[in-house]
């Protein structure tokens, strides 16, 4: 039986959802125009007034919000409420520039938890589950966000945070963890560490679900993780600017449900900014409909994905975005060809001799871009005949070539020699000086 957190809202007819969104959008534009001088100026510069937004489609008239806007107004210049109304701050890691600050009112935290409570219910997680949260707690939104959502959903939280894998495994066994929330990289790391300690996640723990996210991962990686750990692995999506982790797939694993009463999702052409119809790949743009402290209008997240408005088999009517293919920022341009690390992961995980870890090294030699993919020799793939190993390298190189249309050098390295990550893993080293 399919369980819902709030069946009335989650199964609301699409037309009614759209009416609800239209109403909320109209309120939102008045709210930000009035409370955020930064947004008011943006509206004015674009020649648009809150009154111009009469129907849902009018959203096209509104200017986009960029991550750079949050940096330019650092720390709290875009907030719509005075600081004393905030109950929390989160701060992004700032790996790609100045960090961004997000503030939350009590209501913002409640809406965030509600979004996750619906998501967790949709994958059958709730009362009776022990949810071990291995996302980092602190300034990062992953740990605390999931924590509040899981408590709201009725699960018992085990707030291990990231790291200290030995302790994580011990507690997982002693407290019968059923659900683990972490990055896909950490799930692999945990599985390896468990094996080394003589523990089988499949047979020696009660683990049945992994909620994995905070970095892109492929469908092929999902299959690997599900098979090696004996769990169902679900993709989770969110970004700190929108609150943090917010949405997951449901048990059908057929796209991530974006709650339409809270968020309005658009897919646009990254070049022209024009909205794209369902099914076409483009850049994800989200408008927050109920946030108070830091509402965002047409926020360009930078992820590339595909949207569908078809109701899901689970009965939920809210739009879904398909597995995020990668970020616009992550795209590598090698000799004029666009390459996503996720494409490489898909190819590699389809070759059974190849292990789960890889590294992409991009360089420029004599004005020519080169790409090398390092993969680890595994016990299963090892042969002491050079020929066998060289044909494995050739097999991987030709599979990559047929998908990427690009010559790739494949280098086998020793098992365990590529970096393991407990958080977001780094899969690309770009040595080009451009």
């Amino acid at each position: 039986m399919i369980e819902y957190w709030n069946p009335q809202v989650e199964r609301m007819p699409v037309d009614e959802l759209k009416e609800l969104q239209e109403q909320k959008l109209k309120e939102l534009v008045h709210y930000v125009y009035q409370h955020s001088p930064f947004n008011k100026k943006k509206f004015d510069d674009a020649g648009v007034k809150p009154e111009d937004i009469k129907k849902l489609d009018d959203i096209k008239k509104l200017p986009f919000t960029y991550k750079q806007d949050l940096r330019d107004t650092y720390p709290t210049g875009m907030f719509c409420v005075p600081n004393e109304q905030l109950v929390r701050f989160h701060v992004s890691s700032g790996t790609t520039g100045k960090p961004t600050i997000v503030g939350y009112t009590k209501n913002d935290i409640d809406q965030w938890s509600l979004s996750l409570a619906r998501a967790l219910t949709s994958i059958g997680v709730g009362r009776g589950d022990v949810l071990q949260i291995s996302y980092g707690y602190g300034l990062f939104t992953g740990g605390l966000g999931m924590h509040y959502g899981a408590e709201e959903a009725g699960a018992t939280v085990l707030p291990t945070s990231a790291g200290n894998t030995e302790k994580q495994l011990e507690l997982m066994q002693d407290l019968s963890t059923t659900v683990l929330a972490c990055t896909p990289s950490y799930m692999l790391f945990m599985n390896e560490a468990a094996k080394q300690a003589g523990i089988s996640l499949k047979d020696d723990t009660k683990l049945r679900i992994g909620i994995l996210g905070a970095e892109p991962w492929s469908e092929e990686m999902r299959t690997r993780i599900e098979e090696s750990s004996g769990i169902k692995a679900y993709d989770i999506f969110g970004t700190s600017e929108l609150s943090g982790p917010l949405f997951t797939e449901c048990t059908y694993q057929d796209g991530i449900h974006i709650w339409a009463d809270q968020f309005l999702v658009e897919i646009i052409d990254p070049e022209t900014g024009e909205p794209l119809p369902d099914g076409e790949q483009g850049e994800l743009v989200i408008t927050t409909l109920v946030k108070e402290a830091l509402p965002l209008i047409r926020y360009k997240i930078g992820d590339l994905t595909v949207k569908t408005s078809e109701p899901c088999r689970c009965g939920r009517t809210h739009p879904r975005i398909m597995r995020v293919l990668g970020r616009v920022d992550d795209m590598l341009i090698i000799r004029g060809i666009n390459v996503f690390p996720g494409q490489i992961e898909s190819v590699l995980m389809n070759i059974s001799e190849v292990g789960e870890h890889f590294m992409i090294i991009v360089d420029r030699v004599n004005e020519l871009d080169t790409m090398k993919v390092q993969i680890e020799m595994t016990d299963a793939a090892f042969s002491d005949k050079l020929n066998d190993i060289m044909s494995l390298e050739k097999k991987v190189a030709s599979s990559l070539k047929s998908v990427l249309n690009l010559a790739v050098e494949v280098e086998l390295v020793e098992n365990g020699s590529l970096p393991r990550s407990m958080g977001k893993s780094k899969k690309v080293i770009d040595n080009r000086k451009i």
């Binding site: 002491d384 005949k385 020793e414 098992n415």
Partner: protein, 145 residues
Amino acid sequence: MEDKIIKQISLFSENKSGKLASIASNLKNANVNIRAFTIAEAGDFGIVRMVVDKPDVAHSVLHDAGFTVSETSVLGIEMDDVPGSLSVIADVLGKYNINIDYAYAFVTKSDVALLIVRVDDIKSALKVLSSANINLIDMNNIEAI
């Protein structure tokens, strides 16, 4: 006849300085003595192959040290240390269409030399070599060298 099969240790190693030192020191600490040793190198990596007195111990210490390592079945063929010995062996294998994947030889303290070979059909090789009265050594001989 199966007891004439020798367990060779094969391991994958990146072609980097210090790798051999690490392999050697692991074997030294486990008191494993190397009888024959060769490296087949192919650019960024190499395959180290060796015949040792205690293959099981060698396998487990190298595996625990993180190496990708396997035990491979090979033959240890005794040769008189005189010209023409290799030709006799190669003739026999060739005549029966047994292909040599790789081979390496070493000279012992006595007057025989040893040829270590990996072949594509080890059972047939055992049969044809012994019918040709060519002597094969076993793990006990290896320990005793």
